[in-house]
């Protein structure tokens, strides 16, 4: 009877009051206290990586700045001091600034970088009190001595969130060609060594099947 169906709705909503039941399960995440795990390839704020010997990877080529669709990167290269070089090779980036009021986190800079110097972390929870603070310079962007991103006081880092900052690098081959699937095409990194390719892109997997993303890292 239709009139009884009318009252069935009341039973449905009443049943949801029992949070132990399947349909009544609370879906809210109490955000500042607990965080949802982030996707492995989330685009957050950038870091400038270093080699295992502590040298900076950036060579000041300005490819990132020229490819940036939001014009948010400003780079100036300079010749290395021969006695005490900052990066292996001729030049290094001596000014590197990213304006986070402009950045759209498209990761094109990461794709353009020939030395994998710039990668993105999974951190997006940061705020500023004025526009000056929104411009990250080398002081903030370069990784710390242990190879991990700097935990700046206005950023909300939690336990384990500064891991896997260059996940994207490991996910695809640098040139985007399927011939490079499973091959390590990148240099070692300070604090991490040489990162392995993702399992789904390894040589044992047939390239016919759709590539799987690695399971989401539990970040809390």
């Amino acid at each position: 009877m239709s009139i009884l169906n009318f009252f069935k709705g009341f039973a449905v909503t009443f049943g949801k009051l029992n949070h132990a039941s399947k349909s009544g399960k609370v879906v809210t995440t109490e955000y500042p206290e607990e965080k949802r795990s982030k996707p492995a390839r989330l685009h957050g704020r950038h870091v400038l990586n270093k080699y295992e010997d502590g040298m900076e990877k950036c060579i000041g080529c300005e490819l990132c700045a020229s490819v940036c669709p939001a014009n948010c990167i400003y780079v100036r290269g300079a010749d290395n001091d021969l006695e005490n070089p900052t990066s292996p090779g001729e030049r290094f980036g001596f000014i590197y600034e990213i304006n986070y009021l402009r950045c759209i986190h498209c990761d094109l800079c990461v794709e353009a970088c020939p030395t994998q110097a710039i990668t993105e972390t999974k951190l997006f929870e940061f705020s500023f009190m004025d526009r000056e603070q929104a411009i990250y310079t080398k002081d903030e962007l370069v990784v710390a001595d242990d190879g991990k991103p700097q935990n700046l006081p206005w950023e909300d880092w939690r336990q384990g969130e500064d891991e896997h900052t260059s996940e994207w690098m490991r996910a695809t081959s640098p040139s985007g060609s399927a011939d490079f699937v499973g091959l390590v095409q990148w240099a070692g990194e300070l604090g991490y060594g040489t990162r392995k390719p993702e399992s789904s892109q390894g040589p044992n997997n047939s390239s016919e099947t759709a590539p799987e993303l690695s399971p989401e890292e539990e970040v809390h």
């Binding site: 009443f14 009051l17 949070h19 399960k25 609370v26 809210t28």
Partner: protein, 408 residues
Amino acid sequence: MIFSGLDPLFLGDAGTFEMLLIVLLKVLVAFALLLVSVMLYIWWMRKFISAMQNRIGPSRAGPFGILQTLADGIKLFFKEDLIPSKSDKFVFKLAPFFSLVPALLVFCVVPVAGDFSSGGDGTVTWFGNETFVQVADPHVGILFVLAMSSIAVYGIMLAGWSSGSKYPLLGSVRASAQMVSYEAALGLALIAVLLKSGTLSTHDIALQQNGGITDWGLVVTGFVPFIIFFIATTAELNSPPFDLVEAEQELVGGFHTEYSSIRFALFFMAEFMNVITMSAVMVTLFFGGPSGYYPSFGPAWLWGLLWFVGKVFIFVSVFVWMRGTLPRPRYDQLMDLGWKLLIPLALGWVLLIAALDIFDDRGFGSGPAQILIAAICVVAILAFGALLMIAILKGQKKREQEGEEVFG
């Protein structure tokens, strides 16, 4: 002196200074408690409804988020108060108070506590003065409730009209049509109670129901008036599922679209206050007010208060439950329900109760005569219902045919 003590409106005697103090105290306490209970109700509504929607609701301000309403109120106070340039400024400013003041006044006539145990007289003795635990007990009692709930329509109507904007006007047109239609059903359902109680005074109505559940207005009037009253109240309060007045999907915010800051808050305060006061009125009319089981220890008025608050709480929760469950009807469905179902049903029920009362007076109250009368009434109601159904179905068919001619 006792008479003036019982009559807080001082209709007979000016009373002593103490009585004046008691009355002032009652007014203050009623005002403060109503505001606090609105605050708690909004919190409870948000908690309860989110529990039904797999959420947790407000949880930040105070323990369990209980101060969330207070935080919202403070925020609204400090927000910019916008007045549209095309609005009628005086009426625009006046309208929120037209909503709020009746909501406050209705609660004045509701008996909140007192010795309503079986055989009690519903009074308390404070500072040596016998008095009622209600702000006023005017002789017109329940008519005052109806009058105030009608005036509340003005608040909404004037708000929509004075905004000088399309959607608020549409909202207020809907509001006035809806509230006027359901006022009729509300009044007719009320008449059934009044026929049985024989008095308009809310205190006396509550007092007559203190003999147990079989004395409650709900049972005495035979359930139907209560159901009608409940549905009509929901429509009168613009509470979901009958919130067509502020249907977000159609009218932005309805009558309060152009309102901001504390004026906006006043409308919402009035709306939620009305839910509480109308729940209290329903408890008074149909559920025996503060009557119930009174333990032998402790002051009687306290038990009355507990019973009253408990009953109102259940009603208020049912309103929230409806809010979380039922989808909004179409506007023609709303009008159909009001005019074609509730009003005829309420009218029929009033006739039935009146007829039974008269037969009772003439001595047909027992034995086979009573069964015969009941049978005649049942047949009459069935015939009446069948005729109504035929009328409704025919009307519907005709409308469909007309629609086919126009659109088909």
